[in-house]
Every structure is written in C-alpha cells, then in structure tokens.
C-alpha cells in the first residue's frame, strides 16, 4: 500500500518537474514557429545550413525546466556564450573569406560602387524602422537585414539589439533564400530589354600579386577607419589570404570546411536558442519581417539604379542587371543576374561580371555595419 503510494507520488513528481506542467502558450507557439522554420529549411531549402540549426535551437529553447538558462554551465550555455560575445560570426567570415574569389572585383573595381549602392536598402529599412517606432539601435540592427549577409547581421544584432537577434537572423536568412523570387520582377521592371541584352566585355586576368595585396590593404584601410568591424573584416580577409597565398592550403581547407561547419552548427543553434516567446511573439517581429523585405527590395533597386547610371556613363559597357547582385547573398544574387540576362538574350553570360558587385556587397554591408556601430555604440 505504502509502496503503491510512493509509486504514485514519484510518478506525480516526475510529471510535476516535466516540461508539460510548466508549458506556456508562448512555448507552444514558439515550438510551432520552430517547426515552420524547420519546414522552410529542410523542405523549402531556405538556407538549410543556418536555418535548420536556428529552427531546432528555437524548439529546444522553448522546452521548460531544461536548465539551459540557469546558473550552471552546460553545453547550451557554452554555445550561448559564443553568440553573446560575437565569437562565432568572425569565425564564419574566416571560412567565407577562404571561399571567396575577389578576382572579378579586382578586374573591374568600379563594381564596388554597385556594392555600395545596394546598401541603400539597409538605410531605407533603418529609416523605416525608426519611423514605425523602433529606437535607433534597433533600427540599425533591423536595417542590416538588407545587407543579405547572415554573419554580419548576427554580429550587429548581438551588439545593438540582442533581443531582436532571433527575428533578424530568421528574416535575413529567409530573404537570402528568396532572392531568386524577390529580385527578378524588380529587375525586369527597372531595366529595359535593350539594357538587359548588353553583352559585357570579358574581365582582364588578375595577378596573384593583386589577389594577395588586396585583402591586406582592404583590412588595413577599413579597420583603421571603422575599428568596430576589425574582427569581422580581418577574419574575412585572413581567410582569403589563406586561400590566395598558395602556401596555406591546409588552413584554407580547414577554415572553409571543418571549422566553418562546426561554428555554423553552434551559431545556428545558439541563435535559435535566443528565440523566446517574450521577445519574438510581438508585433515588432512582423514589422521586422516587413522591413526586411523593404530592405531587400530597396537594395536591389539601389543596385539597379546605379547599374543604369554606370551603363550610361560607360556608354553601354555595363549591363545594369549586375547591379542587383550588389546586395550580396553570395552567390545567389549573381546567379539571378545571370539568369535574367540569359532570359533576355540566350548566351549572355553575366555570372562572372555579377560576381564583382556580389562580393563587393559583402564588404559594403560590413562597412555599413561598421559605420552604424561607430555612430551608435
């Protein structure tokens, strides 16, 4: 009898300490949000490498009583440490640098202007966010979604508006995946058939000298001017040096494989772990998602407008379609330029030409983030 009593009491205790008893409506909705994000990641293939872990982290974070956010250290707290102290984004950039070929940019440096012009989206969203009531720090973090660079967005958000990190990361990675849907209509609307048919002159060869000196010079110049992004930009360029030096293939290989993959798992899961009902389930999140779309469209339009200007100034040597690649979302946006170009005129290969503004956009967004940090920190 007593045994049965103890048995029942114990079972009851297990139930009382379980997540079910402490489960809130908010947890339930956030787990649903995580499931939707998983669906987007794995079925719709929206940047699955990042959105997958983010979605799973969101689900994990919304189980009550796990102790993930308690006093004691545990694996999830350790991962969170890497998020809140901006340790992971620079390491991701190290790998991205090792994957990036700056040659198309070096062969035609004027495409840097397209990478700058596409940042207009960032600032349009920033202004819009302030108008709808976000404070300037939040607005800056929201605006950076338009940069279409996940690690930069996460880096800036953790510094300026950590409570918005989840929404911003989700918006950034989702829209990056949607580039092939967002951009083409704008591109067709803003360019003429004649412009889209422009065949660009092939790029000149780039020497190893240029490919090695560029990341060094860029690091020095930009880091001196904008110290808050020295870690981010320095890692990007160090990774690129590993790639281009020709004598550090081991490090390049590791930076763009095992290291970036390990950090990606942690970055994604850790970002997802910040998604709690209190911060995420509010109208602000919808506003952020809306503003992110504005930012992407604004960036695309900005790049195209500048592309048209360059087209005029060069007497038709530049196809304005490569302007939209300035939002970065490497290499998706460059492929979209190629795709739209090929549709207008079969055989019009814009891919390599679009890679210039495409990688310029990565630098442009980092510079935009640095500027905002310099002004607002």
């Amino acid at each position: 009898m007593e045994a049965l009593n103890a048995f029942t009491v114990s079972l009851q205790a297990v139930w009382n300490d379980s997540g079910f008893s402490a489960f809130t409506m908010g947890n339930g909705i956030m787990i649903l949000v995580g499931l939707v994000l998983l669906y987007m990641a794995f079925v719709k293939e929206f940047e699955p490498l990042l959105l997958g872990p983010i979605a799973f982290g969101c689900i994990l974070a919304n189980f009550p009583n796990t102790g993930f956010f308690g006093e004691e250290m545990n694996v999830m707290k350790a991962i969170n440490f890497g998020i809140t102290n901006e340790i992971f984004p620079p390491l991701i950039f190290l790998g991205i640098g090792a994957m990036t070929d700056f040659s198309p940019l070096l062969a035609r440096p004027t495409t840097l202007l397209l990478g700058a012009a596409a940042q207009i989206g960032v600032f349009v969203a920033l202004g819009g966010a302030m108008l709808v009531g976000f404070n300037v720090h939040e607005a800056a973090a929201i605006g950076i979604i338009g940069g279409a660079d996940g690690p930069t967005s996460i880096y800036l958000s953790t510094k300026l508006a950590p409570h918005l990190l989840g929404a911003i990361a989700v918006a950034a990675y989702s829209y990056m995946s949607l580039v092939p849907m967002i951009q083409p209509p704008i591109m067709k609307l803003m360019t003429t058939q004649q412009e889209r048919e422009i065949v660009m002159k092939e790029l000149r060869p780039v020497t190893k000298f240029e490919r090695i000196v560029f990341p060094i010079v860029a690091t020095i110049f930009i880091s001196l001017l904008l110290p808050p992004i020295a870690a981010l930009l320095g890692c990007l360029m160090l990774g690129n040096l590993f790639r281009e030096s020709g004598v550090t293939d081991r490090l390049s290989d590791t930076a763009q494989n095992s290291l970036i993959n390990i950090v990606t798992i942690f970055l994604g899961t850790g970002t997802g772990m910040t998604m709690n009902a209190h911060d995420f389930l509010r109208a602000d999140t919808l506003l952020i998602i809306g503003l992110g779309l504005v930012a992407f469209m604004g960036g695309t339009a900005g790049g195209l407008v500048f592309g048209k200007i360059m087209c005029k100034l060069t007497g038709g040597a530049i196809n304005p379609l490569i302007g939209s690649a300035g939002v970065s979302a490497v290499p998706m946006a460059a492929r979209v330029s190629q795709l739209v170009g090929m549709k207008s005129k079969p055989g019009n290969y814009l891919l390599m030409h679009a890679m210039g503004p495409n990688v310029a956009g990565v630098i442009g967004t980092a510079v935009a983030a640095g500027t905002m940090l310099a002004m607002l920190k």
Binding site: T110, G115, A116, D249, A368
Partner: protein
C-alpha cells in the same frame, strides 16, 4: 554603450551612413586601381588589348586569361563554357566542399619531394 548618438533624425542617419559607405568603397576602388598600377608582376597588356577589344571572342582568351577563366580551346561551345563558369562561381556556402580539397594536393609529400630535388640540383 559609450556616448549617445549625435542625432536621431532618421534621414540624417541614413545620409551619413550612405555617405560613409560610398566614401569607403570609392577609396577602396582607387586602392585596387593603385594595386594594379604598382603590380610588378602584371603582363604588359598594351599590344594585346586593342586586339582583344575588336573581336571580343571567346577563342582569343585562351592566351591571356588563365587566371579568371579556364583556358578555352577551339570547338568548345558557349553552352559548356556557361555550365563551367556557373560551376566555378557556384562556390556559395553549400557548394565548395569538394572543389577545395582537390586544391590541397599541392601540399602532399610529392610536392615536398619535388622541392627537395630542386634544391638538390643547385
């Protein structure tokens, strides 16, 4: 964190930021041109460039552009070039795994051996 922002007028913030971004990237553009200008390894392109200007054909490239584009041989159709260049460019986060490892062969013992033998011949 430190001092408060200078202004909270959205338009001014947008203008300032955009200005800084453009200034930085324009300076970077001139730095790239400077790098190209001082590049001691660049091939003298003067005699070739006008020739290249006239017929911007794929076949011409096979002599001058090994760095950016694969050496293209006569008889290769544009479709194939497109496919290859797409593949080359498809180095996004998800698509670089194999390509990179292959590069790594330069660091095998065989390369070290080659170096060693070169040293030896001196």
């Amino acid at each position: 964190m430190g001092h408060s922002p200078v202004t909270t007028n959205p338009l001014i913030i947008m203008m300032i930021n955009m200005t800084v971004v453009f200034i930085v990237l324009v300076v970077l553009m001139y730095l790239i041109k400077l790098i190209h200008f001082i590049d001691p390894t660049k091939v003298k392109e003067k005699p070739e460039e006008p020739v290249a200007d006239e017929p911007p054909l794929v076949a011409v490239k096979s002599e001058t552009a090994p760095a950016l584009e694969p050496v293209v041989e006569q008889g290769v159709t544009p479709e194939i070039i497109a496919a290859i260049s797409a593949a080359v460019a498809a180095y996004g986060f998800a698509g670089q795994v194999r390509a990179v490892r292959i590069v790594n062969h330069e660091n095998t013992p065989w390369r070290a051996s080659a170096r060693f033998n070169t040293l030896q011949r001196k």
